[in-house]
Amino acid sequence: MPVTHLTSRFIAPECDGDILAVNDLYFSYPDGHAALNGVSLKLCEGDKVALVGPNGAGKSTLMLHLNGILTGRGDVEIAGKRLTRDNLPLIRSMVGLVFQNPDDQLFSPTVFEDVAFGPLHMGLPEAEVRSRVDAALEAVRMNSYRDRLSHHLSVGEKKRIAIATVLSMQPRLLVLDEPSAGLDPRARRTLINLLRDLPITMLVSTHDMKLVQELFPRTVVMDEGCVVADSLTSEILGNESFLNAHGLEKP
């Protein structure tokens, strides 16, 4: 399927990229598959941006670059710091990455231990760790769950705990990979309200066009490893032929 390129209507909103600046990023997997073909993207403090595109577009691959789990050719800057091997741990404390499947995110027996992992790894003193865990659980409204076993929680609850595990690191940028997948309508609604209320810059990949419409003023569309549109959500959702060309649908 050919990549339809931007009409001039789709132009990225003004932004000096003070939180995130990705510049001409290329990446191929070891098997030779080119997953990113020159991606550039900027996010400002307070932005809430949706990242959409068909399966295999490279969304998850891009997200894995934002805190250095993968490193391709090109620049990634977080809050003005270039991501290098040396400042990796520091960058990771600024970028909170939440994976699609909360089961991948939660590896400790209890909720408390999981949320405390990040702060503990950062070497923070115990009192600080505790207060951060409390604050993070408070933010996702799961304070009463701190001593529960994560194994026995419902998907929606796990999802919120997964978000808390990165909030406890007090990141400046929250990166969420398909947060609403597998949730029932009620849990999905709770999640939408939670994301709306969190006062953090966020980049969210999703297939849920209704979520995009409700929550994000700005949308980035990827296909075949390129950003093919970066514009106001209303504009992108209004252009049906463009959506179809990239395997998307109107909500």
Binding site: P109, T110, L149, H151, H152
Partner: protein, 311 residues
């Protein structure tokens, strides 16, 4: 690195034919017992369970944790598999893992697979389960503590057996291979023990039913306590002796004919085996083989007794 070979997987070419065959015989006998026990005692649900558990052990071997200076601890899994699945199922699961590692990744050879299964699958499971079983009705702390010791010992036993097989095959010098292998694996064993203990603690916390009364793990007989204890005792006695006085061990082995067994060049074996006038070497070869088989046979009988006594 997707997959890093562990130092216990012996490749083809490093063991002599006769040592490989003796190990295969011991392994095949034990597995035969394991298969008939498993077929008898377990329901049809066990097939998918053991298959997925084998994939679990394989995948869990990739979980590591940084220790210091670029080294990391990781899991071999024999003891853990036996503790959570019971000894016979644990052995079968480990056998599948080792077979796939050899077939698919050439991590460990085919002719020497009998030895590899013996070292990493059977002995580890017997020690792991046997020691754990002796405290399986004890407190949580006791169970975890013993599981840790058992996991550490199981790795040491694997290393000791590997060294002995290499030495009997004339591939390594006893005075070097024993301290080297045991030294390295004393550390690797600590990683094994820690991961095993914490993984068990996790399971006890989230699904205590899988390890409690009436679980698969609690079903096997008390014979395992003797088998596991006996092998552990051998390891505990032999390791320091072999490390401190390899020459002593060599003298014992020469007196008992073991050395000639392993090292007799393979092309001598075939004619000697087939000719009616058995030479001294060939006789000792066979005797050694028989001795090995008898030892294993006794162990199997002991275990079988224990199982019967229970039921």
């Amino acid at each position: 690195m997707l997959y890093s070979p562990a130092p216990l997987h012996i490749p083809d070419g490093f063991l002599s034919l006769i040592v490989s065959i003796i190990c295969w015989v011991i392994t095949a006998l034990t597995l035969g017992a394991a298969i008939s026990r498993t077929n008898k005692s377990l329901g049809e649900r066990q097939i998918p369970l053991m298959g997925v558990m084998a994939a679990f052990i394989f995948a869990a071997q990739m979980i590591n944790f940084p220790v210091a200076g670029g080294t990391s601890g990781h899991l071999l899994g024999g003891a853990l598999a036996a503790i959570v699945l019971g000894p016979w199922a644990g052995m079968l699961v480990m056998t599948a893992v080792i077979a796939v590692q050899a077939l698919l990744f050439q991590d460990g050879g085919l002719l020497v697979m009998g030895a590899n299964i013996l070292n990493m699958g059977l002995v580890t499971a017997a020690i792991g389960y046997g020691l754990y079983r002796s405290v399986s009705s004890g407190t949580k702390t006791a169970r975890l503590g013993v599981a840790g010791v058992a996991a550490w010992l199981s790795v040491m036993a694997g290393a000791l057996l590997t060294s002995l097989q290499l030495w009997l095959s004339g591939t390594s010098q006893l005075g070097i291979v024993i301290p080297a292998m045991l030294g390295v694996h004393a550390l690797i064993g600590v990683g094994e023990a820690l991961i095993t203990v914490f993984a068990l603690a996790f399971i006890m916390q989230t699904r205590p039913d899988l390890l409690g009364e009436g679980s698969e793990s609690a079903k096997a007989g008390r014979g395992w306590i003797y088998a596991g204890g006996l092998i552990s005792l051998l390891v505990v006695l032999l390791s320091p002796f072999a490390s401190a006085d390899p020459d002593g061990l060599e003298r014992v082995a020469i007196n008992m004919g073991f050395i000639d067994t392993g090292r007799s060049a393979p092309y001598e074996i075939i004619p000697d085996y087939t000719l009616p006038f058995l030479g001294e070497t060939a006789l000792s070869t066979i005797l050694a083989g028989v001795a090995g088989i008898v030892v294993v046979g006794i162990l199997i009988v002991l275990v079988g007794r224990g199982m019967k006594a229970k039921s």
